[in-house]
Symmetry: C2
Subunit: 269 residues, 2 copies
DNA sequence: GCTTCCAACTGGCTTGAGCCACTTACTGGC
DNA sequence: GCCAGTAAGTGGCTCAAGCCAGTTGGAAGC
């Protein structure tokens, strides 16, 4: 039983909304529509492609989901500007940076000519989330940690949400419970408690934001977040502090520079 | 002129589709709908909330965009399973791993009980993209590099797209132009050329996939990608190889473990 | 028992209509 | 000159209806 194919339609039959989205994507990639340019209105697109407005609208939604364009209510749809990434380097943990008296965030902001702002949202004793408890080696059933939540801004735009967890037993009654944690910040206090930051472990993942995070970070549709689960290890290899960073991925990136372990001579340590 | 507010509606007036999406999200977070469970059908949701099917459908779309649920044509909409992350550790560059004879990817796959497959897609001389040329310190106007494109699979599921760039001048006529690049892979050959990998620099960002990447990686809506731009530096601090990794973020993560630079004693080296 | 077919379910996508909210520029009054 | 008002344009969102395409399970035929 043979079916004769219609001689037309050599393409794999895409639905109209996707076809329109792809056409627009090509126009953007070819530079016919540059960053910042306004796309034709939904009604204009509909007419141009002989489709309903909803179909044109769906095409725009697809592009927005890909992070290519941004709609502004009452104004139009615009090609998104590729943002200069705010890089968080692995030297942000470097102790020598403390000598400047600036936190790594303020340092990086200054380097990029932006003003930094850090809001201390809360400092509370809490029951830790499971992943935190596991890494900090504390109980996930008791209020075994202190949680410091900070929000970071560059030029008054929210950039990252930072949640730091420290053992309650160590923080209790110290400056670690205060917004102003003293010289060299919390790492200064933790060092006084006998924890010298010797190694760090950063676990990195990416995902779409929760609605709560999207609101806090002022995120547009189609922008994921970078999540870094950071563990500080002291001179004995013991974890003494765990921090969860949630970055907006359209404005921030990470940079790790590290030495490569060379092969050990046979039989030697 | 005073307006008397209707005594109801204390909430900030969310549109129905978002309200439905939020209700469903709460049901999932409360565990009433567990991972793998099937949501009510679009038609059922519409009736339940007294809305049109399109509105219920929009609610489901919002959840899919957040990566919470996945629609399967003809079957239904299901709560997404949190996947065990395939972790790429910073020791993947460690030379001591070469002793096993396994590439880091095969090693990690074995550790997780999965079968690894690596497809060599192409090995071609090319004009490098601007970001690559800058990092490899070659011309972005000539065909100055060799581009090796590989696709990595775990249990036959695509996991990452890897594009490695090497200087054409060094690769020309060597095993670096061959799919089987000999003992210890390309790093073995590059070492013979006098480049001992001494430091690495990884630049990490997250974004939504292009349609092309989404197809290659078999990505569902609402799943971002992790992009790692990796530069290998030799004993002289010179870059000799740059690789772009594109990971699917729902199944992979990165792990960096590194020593913290201690403060240098004043005036000493 | 086996297979084939079909009905009823699922999501995928489009249509065309309508109302709302935000933005902009122009117009008219003062 | 200034300001208020308005009209026209934009996206945001919903509706009701319809057809298509996978999926599933049971009924009918062999």
């Amino acid at each position: 039983m043979l079916l004769v194919m219609s001689p037309s339609a050599p393409s794999p039959q895409q639905p109209p909304s996707r076809r329109i989205a792809e056409e627009l994507r090509k126009r953007i990639e070819r530079g016919e529509l540059a960053a910042g340019d306004k796309l034709p209105s939904e009604r204009a697109l509909a007419e141009e492609y002989g489709a309903a407005r909803n179909t044109a609208r769906e095409a725009v939604r697809i592009l927005a989901e890909q992070g290519l364009v941004t709609a502004k209510h009452g104004k139009g749809v615009f090609v998104r500007q590729p943002q200069r990434l705010f890089r968080f380097g692995s030297d942000r943990y470097s102790i020598k940076n403390r000598e400047t008296g600036l936190t790594p965030f303020r340092l990086e902001a200054k380097r990029q000519g932006k003003t930094a702002r850090i809001d201390v949202l809360s400092i509370t004793r809490e029951v830790p989330p499971a992943d935190i408890a596991e890494r900090l080696q504390v109980s996930a059933d008791d209020a075994s940690v202190v949680h410091r939540e900070n929000h970071y801004f560059a030029d008054d735009e929210p950039v990252q949400i930072v949640s730091t967890y420290i053992r309650w037993g160590e923080a209790q009654g110290t400056l670690l419970m205060q917004p102003k944690s003293g010289p060299n910040g919390i790492y200064g206090r933790l060092e006084e408690l006998g924890h010298v930051m010797t190694r760090v472990r950063d676990e990195i993942s990416a995902r779409m934001p929760t609605p709560h995070e999207a609101a806090l970070l002022d995120l547009l549709p189609g922008v994921p977040v970078l999540e870094v689960l950071h563990t500080s290890l002291d001179q004995n290899g013991e974890p003494f502090e765990v921090t969860r960073y949630v970055h907006r991925a359209d404005q921030t990136g990470l940079l790790y520079e590290l030495p490569v372990e060379q092969p050990t001579p046979p039989e030697a340590q």
